[in-house]
Amino acid sequence: MNFFNIKTIVFLVVFVFGLALSIPSIFGTQGPKITLGLDLQGGLNILLGVDINGGIKSRYSSLATQINHDTQNSDILIDSLHSSDNNVSFELLDISKKDALDELLSKIKGLNISSIDGKYNITFTQEEIKFIQSSSIEQAIDTIRNRLDIFGLSEPSVTRQGEYNILVQLPGIKTTEDEQAALDLIIRPAQLKMMAVDEERNARVNSMSEDEASKYGDVILPFTHDPNLKILLKGIPIIDGSMLTDARVAFDSKTNQRVIAFTLNSVGARIFGDFSGNNIGKRMAIVLDNKVYSAPSIRERIGGGSGQISGSFSEQEAKNIAIALRSGSLTTPLELLEKRSIGPSLGADSIKSSLIALFGSFLVIILFMIFYYGFAGVIAVSALFVNILAIIACMSLFGATLTLPGMAGIVLTIGMAIDANIIINERIREALRSGDNVIKSIAFGYENATRAIFDANNTTLIVAVLLYVYGTGSIKGFAITMGIGIVVSIITAIIGTHGIYLWLGQKINNTKRLNFWFGIKKGVN
């Protein structure tokens, strides 16, 4: 048979494919490359947990803001509007407006409304809560991505992990300053609120407890420049961050300080204007993430819908806050569950020692196979070589990430692939010993070995798939390399080497040097 049988062609195609697509990764030329995991190149790895209950609480708070605004607009008088972890409640003062109120509420989707004697209690429906839960994690991922994009970090990766976790990987982070800045940017809820000061009771703020304040529907919040200084604010915000359209860093020419200037959308601008017009002389606090930045007195009606947050910001801080505000607030609070940072020098060392291990084991196997099997060993080693190239190629093509356990996975695949050829060679030898000719022996070897190799590889493949689906982080990386390695090794070790034997079979049959080809002497039983 000549060289171009279907099996050698498959082998050649895999070889060319492997060679072409692994060159960019090996020599650093243009083209798809393997992404190195953070453990190999250094960087910051953050696992965030999404606080679902906090997310629902904040939805109730914005619902209250909306109801407050809508009822004021339609001249419906309500009192003791209050939002909590799991409901919004208020009292309708003018019973004759009940129909108008009910109609207004019915426009808001996903609510369970109950009212007894004008006392309203509003909760979200089960479906709405489920929707909030599923959408809040996606919203958080989008927001974080947005922020990192604007911030301009190289190749950040933000992915969902498990049900309520988010994994953020930042390869570009090298110093602790960078780390802190990135962390601030990601974690910051960036919930901007404008809240009215409860001027009647504010004088007593220092002696008031949180519970007492909440009885009046108020909250006590600290100032950012001095946490000991507190102020009493009305619990339902006038405006929340969802009405924000833009935020950027600016300079206040009067105070010569860095400020963050923001712009509101038309609805926000109208509410802002109405409120400032009706409350001249009173104070309004600008609150970011439950800290009061300033609480200026209102001197006149403020139209146009723009304002500014002042505080003694550093340049970086002001920039980060502006980015966070612009990219939207995180309505669901995030919790930092895990933080792993790997210095670039450790990554380089890991690569070095893994490569030594990889080449070392490769060398041992080459020598051993050739020593034990003769030319059959050379064929097995060539299949192994193509196998490794193809793994690199597949990984760069799919954009898979190579991690330390992934490297271990490759080393293990080498073992598995060589096992396939050992099984085949042993079977061929067996047939040769029983006196069959070379061509028959090769056919016998492949026929019987393939079945066992197939069963064995299939079970391992099942494990790899399960690991990929249920594993996390490094285990996933390991499962990918193992899975790719097994599939490729079936092609190279079973099909590829068979093709070479089909091509050379007649030639081997004609020579008497079995010891050279298979490492044994014929007929020695």
Binding site: D39, L47, G49, G162, N165, T176, E179, L336, E338, K339, R340, S341, I342, G343, S350, S353, S354, I356, A357, G360, S361, I365, F368, F371, Y372, G374, L404, P405, A408, V411, L412, I414, G415, M416, I418, D419, I422, I423, E426, E430, N448, R451, A452, D455, A456, T459, T460, I462, V463, A464, L466, L467, Y470, T472, S474, I475, F478, M482, G519, N525
Partner: protein, 324 residues
């Protein structure tokens, strides 16, 4: 080149008896060890912080570091160990909720300034919450992997063989996992990855032998299962040992030259590559017999299968002819 006499049939089943006794003693020993010494859960599972430092131009002054850290308020309860080289150390301490906010990297640089110049190579902080989910997922994937393999092997071979294979597998994983207790390695995600790989490797080894057993049974119709097993294990002996040797070499090189971080992976694998080979030769086939595998029944079943297949073919042919 040839290592073994390929025409000799060794009495593996006879030695399996001692193998089973040996394994039982080993497992009891491990259980005792487990209760006496216990497993060191790494921060992946229980939460906590790890800092890895490398000193430039000198060995790490461990006793000095220990003294300083004991006096500091933040790192008081930490555990300091050498990591791979004399100039590299790892500091571990339990999780404190405020950890994630404080910049540990800066903190340690400040505290350890008097001990000389060093480089902070790695800082891991894991909250206890993350670990619970990891453990849950680990158990789920392990259980599913076992069930899936059981189904596959039952389908391809016979349920008693499947069960024997799985029991041998659990045996291998158990003994390899014990290696981390003996050598004081923390139970981390890498160890889990190693154990999961081992599952793949160990079943691979067992299946190759099972395949030969099935082949011999269908080919030669021996009536003595012991003989079939001895024959199959002997015939595959050279392959089994060769493969085990290559795998062992690969992992051994990884163990010696790979970075210290990989120890959690390579150590259980190193033990597993030996135990896996032993169990697929001495434990798994013997267990299949103990579980009541009956060779006559197997032949009858196979014959029935064959008959059914032939009948089907016959029907099919008749059907085709009828149409023509």
């Amino acid at each position: 080149m040839d290592f073994f006499r390929h025409d000799k049939i060794y009495d593996f089943v006879k030695y399996s008896k001692y193998g089973l006794i040996f394994s039982c003693i080993l497992i009891v020993g491990i259980i005792i060890l487990f209760f006496i010494k216990g497993v060191n859960f790494g921060i992946d599972f229980v939460g906590g912080s790890v800092i890895q430092l490398q000193y430039t131009n000198k060995d790490a002054p461990i006793s000095q570091i220990r003294e300083i850290l004991n006096d500091s308020q933040y790192f008081k309860n930490s555990n300091i160990t050498e990591f791979g080289a004399k100039n590299e150390i790892v500091i571990k301490f339990p999780f404190v909720p405020s950890d994630v906010k404080i910049n540990i990297s800066d903190e340690i640089k400040e505290v350890l300034k008097p001990t000389g110049e060093f480089d902070v190579r790695r800082v891991d902080i894991v909250g206890p919450k993350a670990g619970v989910e990891l453990a849950k997922k680990g158990v789920i994937s392990l259980a599913l992997a076992l069930i899936a393999m059981m189904i596959y092997v039952s389908f391809r071979y016979e349920w008693r063989f499947a069960l024997a294979g799985i029991v041998a597998l659990v045996h291998d994983v158990f003994i390899s996992a014990a290696a981390i207790i003996v050598f004081d390695v923390d139970l981390s995600l890498d160890v889990i990855a190693a154990l999961l790989t081992l599952i793949g490797y160990s079943i691979n080894d067992t299946i190759i032998i099972f395949d030969r057993i099935r082949e011999q049974m269908l080919l030669k119709k021996f009536n003595d299962i012991n003989f079939v097993i001895n024959d199959a294990v002997s015939k595959t002996l050279s392959r089994t040992l060769l493969t085990s040797l290559t795998v062992f070499f690969v992992i051994f090189i990884l163990f010696v030259f790979g970075s210290e971080i990989l120890k959690g992976f390579t150590l259980p694998m190193l033990v597993g590559s030996i135990v896996g080979t032993y169990s697929s030769m001495f434990i798994a086939p013997k267990l299949a017999i103990l579980f009541g595998f009956n060779i006559q029944e197997y032949y009858e079943k196979e014959a029935r299968k064959q008959r059914k297949k032939q009948e089907k073919e016959k029907m099919y042919q008749m059907y085709e002819k009828g149409r023509i």
